[in-house]
Amino acid sequence: MKILSRAEEVILLTILKIDGDAYGVSIRQRIFDDTGDWWSFASIYTPLDKLVRKRYALKTKGGPTAKRGGKSKFFYEVTNDGKRALLDLQRAQNQIWAGVPRIAAEKAK
């Protein structure tokens, strides 16, 4: 199993949380709300494209919107594969982190 990258993880989680209205602008906004950082669009699109290619996320075309100069939005949702990958990641993380607080505490002394 391939481990998701940090950016992929963040984006996948964000899409999941937005639930239904996830597109470029809203994803970026939500990441800011959660982390206090404005990500550049470039750093969002690259992982997004990869997720779509890996079939962890699904991209669908929405209707045109006047606010965007008449251009359509493209919405993203997390596929079942995507959800499974997130859970796998969490499990792996837990495994990796297991015991770390104790070791870190000992080393700090």
């Binding site: 970026r28 550049s40 750093s43 100069g69 251009k71």
Partner: protein, 850 residues
């Protein structure tokens, strides 16, 4: 924000672009409200710049991936249709080879004298003057011009004059061996400071011969001294002057200064023609960097006019840049070479176009087979751009293979081509430019020949194509026909041109028919042997293999000397005429079978004939003589002679010149007859030549024996015409071959496509002949149409060419009919085979097809 949007547009495909640019625009508009437009703009730029590299990388990645896919498909297509691929590659290869060869030739002609270090500052001084015949510009200038420019003008770094020795061939003796040399020149020492020829031996700085030294070319150095060191060795010129070799230079092929021996002007002091008027010297100057040639021109002209009598001023001393000299005349008009280069260049481009047309035709003819493929591709999501790219990859692949084919052809045929055009070409000497030319030809061919099929095939609508609604044959048929017409128009044009050029060559031969030059040979009596000319003639007279002999000053193929004569009674401005003249033995007119139309020929029995003369018809006209025979003529040396006869006008110069007034005289008191001409009995050539050689060696021991045929002189004079004839013949054959190749391929596709129709017709009782005719009639009509287009174009072009000759053949209407018949026949042969094969098909096979 137009620019960032445009960047995205380029880098992203449709849907991606809509999404990304939409997202950015949404935030951007939001920011304008919140933070103002300036900061929003900056933000947008930063965002786009951050994203651009990633987008670009994606784009390239997918393109390369697809390219491999396209290449694979193309190779599969090539293998699948071997015949089609072969025709395409061979046709394109021939076209490109032809184009490359012509490119080499043109580059060679353009490269003349471009290797001199100071080439941009070198000028030739020309003399412009007006005469009663109108303005003229001569490339020769008086002696003093070069001296004054070199000594009195600060803008001029240095000036050098060139002039020829009076005798065209000199006798060179070195270490017991003797040679005749004709490529020699007298030059001022500054010659080597102006021009920079590669130096083989000697110090380039010191290539300034003192009065007794000579600079020679590496070619003659090898001839004289073999592998030894030539420096300081002695050459004896014409038996009485010694020169020491002071340097050896290499004369490249692309220079107009083709001299093997460069003598210092000073050493022939007695031949120098001082003065401000007589045009005997080519003057070259090297200006200081940044000096304005026009200013110098004005000043030297003023100086010249101050030094010559009032009322005889010249109209200018225009400077001509070194780079212009090879291709332009002294008066600035394009010379013959330049005109030939334009003709060649256009022909090269057209032949390449014909080859491209083959590719276009064959590709679109196959469109039906490819239509389904395109339909499926589009259905599974290929965009039009992708399909266009795929067809371009195919055309680039075929063009690349054709390029290799072309290179092979060029390497094989370079020696033949060299002879054809009479220029010494090689790929090596052209260097990187050939590479660029090759790439250019490759790229342009691929784009031109691939473009039309790509656009045409990619335009299919998948729904129609897959439902089989693709209307057979209608799509592209008209344009295909147009292209065939274009090809054959060019072929017919070249056929007509070739026929006309050859008819002019025949015409030229006919003008010289009376002379019967095939059995004429001549000897040049140089190195002091001319004084023994009469002796030699007497000695040779006794051999029956030699029919007749004469000794003459000039050959009747090229009489170039002219002088003033006066009609009696007195010398005055009104009775002065400038005539071409020749001095020869009494038997000159008989020897060359010239026709006396009034009066009589020179006669041995008439003691006064030495002073008498014969005029040509043109001279009688010009001198305005009513009854020419018996009139008195005052010669340039004040002697007086009588006109005893009139000779019919004959071409004694190149046929592009009008026949000028000519006076033939004997004048045995002038000893300057360097040619001994002999007419040999047919069939006894070998023994006759043996006699001549033996007698020469007895009478002129130690002087090289150089006998030449009249035929060769004739060939040299009409070299350009013959080269043109051969080149057009080659072009005609090439265009026909390439066109037929295409036609053959086209016909085979047509036959295949109309298979079912043919079978149905056969079943209903059509004969094989009828079907064959039906299948080929379309092409026949195209070729006829091509004739209609080519005729007027060829007529106009060839009339223009013929008009450059004072005497030329008429364009025979039969030429057009012959060209039409030829083209039609050739087209029929290439189409006919396919048609007949198609007509013989077994109906059962044809109908079972699906």
């Amino acid at each position: 924000m137009k620019v960032p949007d445009f960047i995205l547009r380029i880098l992203l495909k449709d849907e991606e672009y809509v999404e990304k640019s939409g997202d950015l625009e949404e935030v951007y508009l939001d920011m304008i409200e919140k933070t103002g437009s300036f900061r929003a703009k900056i933000w947008l730029w930063i965002e786009v710049m951050k994203a651009a590299p990633e987008f670009a990388r994606n784009l390239v990645y997918w393109r390369v991936l697809m390219l491999w896919n396209y290449l694979g498909i193309s190779i599969r297509q090539l293998k699948k249709r071997k015949g089609f691929s072969f025709i395409n590659i061979l046709g394109l290869g021939l076209g490109m080879a032809c184009f490359l060869l012509i490119f080499l030739l043109i580059r060679f002609e353009l490269s003349f004298d471009d290797f001199h270090e100071h080439r941009d500052d070198i000028y030739r001084v020309n003399q412009a003057f007006s005469s009663e015949r109108g303005g003229r510009v001569s490339s020769y200038t008086p002696y003093e011009i070069g001296r004054a420019l070199g000594e009195e003008f600060p803008e001029v770094v240095t000036a050098a004059r060139l002039t020829t020795l009076f005798n065209a061939e000199i006798l060179v003796r070195c270490e017991g061996k003797t040679f005749f040399e004709s490529r020699h020149i007298l030059a001022d020492p500054a010659f080597f400071q102006i021009f920079s020829f590669p130096v083989v031996f000697g110090n380039p700085e010191a290539l300034r011969p003192n009065p007794n030294s000579v600079v020679i070319s590496d070619v003659v150095a090898k001839k004289y001294f073999g592998k030894g060191d030539p420096m300081g060795r002695r050459l004896t010129i014409n038996g009485d002057r010694d020169f020491l070799v002071s340097g050896v230079i290499r004369i490249p092929e692309n220079t107009d200064f083709q001299y093997d021996l460069v003598f210092p002007m000073k050493s022939f002091e007695k031949d120098i023609d001082y003065g401000w008027r007589a045009l005997r010297y080519e003057t070259f100057i090297r200006l200081k960097k940044g000096a304005r040639p026009r200013d110098v021109e004005e000043k030297i002209w003023a100086l010249q006019n101050n030094n010559i009598p009032k009322g005889r001023e010249n109209s200018g001393l225009p400077f001509q840049k070194l780079s212009q000299i090879h291709l332009y005349e002294a008066n600035g008009e394009p010379g013959a070479t330049a005109r030939y280069m334009v003709v060649f260049g256009l022909s090269g481009v057209f032949i390449l176009l014909i080859a491209c047309v083959n590719f276009m035709n064959l590709s679109t003819a196959r469109s039906e087979q490819r239509a389904r493929e395109v339909g499926i591709r589009k259905t599974v999501g290929a965009e039009r751009g992708q399909i266009i790219r795929q067809f371009y990859v195919e055309s680039f692949l075929i063009t690349t293979l054709a390029l290799f084919c072309a290179l092979l052809i060029v390497l094989l045929f370079l020696p033949v081509f060299r002879q054809l055009v009479g220029a010494r070409l090689s790929i090596g000497q052209a260097g990187p430019q050939v590479f660029i030319g090759m790439l250019g030809a490759w790229f342009v061919t691929a784009i031109v020949s691939g473009g039309y099929p790509a656009l045409f095939l990619s335009s299919f609508r998948p729904v129609q194509v897959l439902r089989g609604k693709f209307i057979k044959g209608c799509k592209g048929a008209a344009s295909r026909k147009g292209l065939v017409v274009f090809q054959f128009s060019l072929s017919v044009f070249f056929i007509i041109s070739t026929l006309v050029v050859y008819s002019q060559l025949r015409f030229i031969d006919a003008r010289y028919e009376a002379m019967d030059k095939s059995h004429l040979v001549y000897l040049r009596m140089d190195g002091g042997s001319d004084v023994r000319g009469p002796l030699l003639k007497e000695a040779l007279r006794k051999y029956p293999e030699i029919r007749s002999l004469t000794v003459t000053q000039q050959l009747p193929l090229s009489i170039g000397y002219n002088r003033n004569v006066w009609t009696s009674p007195a010398k005055s401005q009104d009775t002065r005429f400038n005539l071409f003249y020749n001095m020869a033995d009494f038997d000159f007119v008989r020897m060359f079978n010239m026709e006396i139309i009034e009066g009589r020929d020179f006669s041995e029995d008439n003691a006064t004939d030495g002073l008498n003369c014969i005029l040509n018809e043109e001279a009688v006209r010009k001198l305005g003589l009513e009854n020419p025979v018996g009139r008195k003529i005052i010669y340039w040396d004040d002697k007086v002679g009588t006109v005893i006869g009139v000779v019919k006008d004959f071409n004694y110069q190149h046929i592009s010149n009008r026949i000028q007034p000519l006076v033939l005289c004997a004048r045995p008191d002038w000893l300057n007859r360097k040619y001994l001409v002999a007419r040999l009995a047919p069939g006894e050539l070998k023994s006759a030549l043996g006699h001549i050689h033996r007698e020469w060696n007895t009478i002129n021991p130690g002087i090289p024996f150089e006998l030449r045929f009249f035929e060769n002189v004739f060939d040299r004079i009409y070299r350009d015409e013959r080269a043109m004839g051969r080149v057009f013949l080659t072009f005609a054959l090439l265009t026909i071959f390439i066109s037929c190749l295409g036609l053959f391929g086209l016909a085979s596709f047509m036959a295949e496509r109309r298979r079912k129709e043919v079978v149905v017709r056969k079943v209903l009782g059509a004969s094989i002949a009828r079907i064959s005719v039906m299948l080929s009639s379309g092409f026949t009509k195209s070729v006829l149409l091509a004739n209609v287009i080519a005729w007027p174009a060829a007529y106009l072009a060839m009339r223009m060419w013929l008009q450059s000759y004072a005497y030329h053949a008429r364009i025979d209407p039969a030429v057009f009919l012959l060209a039409a018949a030829l083209a039609e026949a050739i087209a029929l042969v290439s189409v006919g085979y396919q048609s007949i094969r198609a007509a013989y098909v077994n109906p059962a096979d044809g109908l079972r097809h699906e």
